[in-house]
């Protein structure tokens, strides 16, 4: 299940609904990403999340399918917010339930790792009266690649342009 929304979500309500009436779940793993209050040394005023709606849905669904292909998961849930967020606000929720805890942990971590390198969201930080687009993190690419069969975002466009410009 995929949801992309500007509104906040209620972790308790989401989890209650996610496992509602199920008695085949042995383990539930959940990850929630939140807005931190500091950027470098400056206090963060706001984080603005922009996205590419049609592509976001498609990529998240693909990431979810890939997780189900790799592990015996009973269900998965991804909720990602966009728009203007404040320190302490929830950004993303990823939940996975499985009969077994190993699959639940692996599936959950895989979803967030791939999401961070595949789903078309971009963060803009506002701090000290200035704004700055967050640069992608090389470490995140390495983390996603470590799952194997790393998804390709096309890579550096320049490198493939005739003449390398």
């Amino acid at each position: 299940m995929i949801r992309v929304q500007s509104e906040d979500f209620d972790i308790g309500a989401e989890i209650a609904q996610f496992t509602q009436g199920r008695t085949d779940v042995g383990g539930l793993c959940l990850f929630v990403g939140l807005v931190r209050d500091v950027v470098g040394d400056a206090p963060l005023e706001a984080l603005v999340l922009e996205h590419y709606p049609q592509m976001t849905e498609r990529e998240l669904r693909r990431i979810e399918e890939e997780a189900h292909r790799r592990w015996p998961l009973l269900d998965t849930l991804i909720i990602h917010r966009h728009g203007r967020l404040k320190p302490g606000d929830r950004i993303v929720l990823v939940a996975v339930c499985s009969a077994h805890r190993q699959a639940a942990f692996d599936g959950c971590r895989f979803l967030i790792d791939w999401l961070k390198t595949r789903a078309p969201f971009w963060k803009r930080e506002e701090a000290g009266g200035q704004h700055r687009w967050v640069a992608a993190c090389d470490a995140d690419l390495g983390i996603a690649a470590a799952w194997g069969d790393a998804p390709d975002d096309g890579g550096e466009a320049r490198a493939r342009l005739p003449g390398g410009r």
Partner: protein
Amino acid sequence: MSISILYFAWLRERAGRGEEVVSPPPTVTDVAGLIEWLRGRGGGPAAALSDLRAVRIAVNQEYATVDHPVTAGDEVAFFPPVTGGGGR
């Protein structure tokens, strides 16, 4: 032919627009050709696409490389590497 172009994040700011519909000549048959044509046209989009090191491409909502063909009705998006999620 008519192609929809989308710009996101700092590419959108530099391009001075989030989207536009363009009609390049028939000699433009792939993304590389489209980028060349957009650069030649000048203005914000040319500035946005002047340095492609941190530019990613999607054609019809799928990640693509510059050798991907473009045809009438396609949606081509230019954006920086993604930074969603949380808890870096």
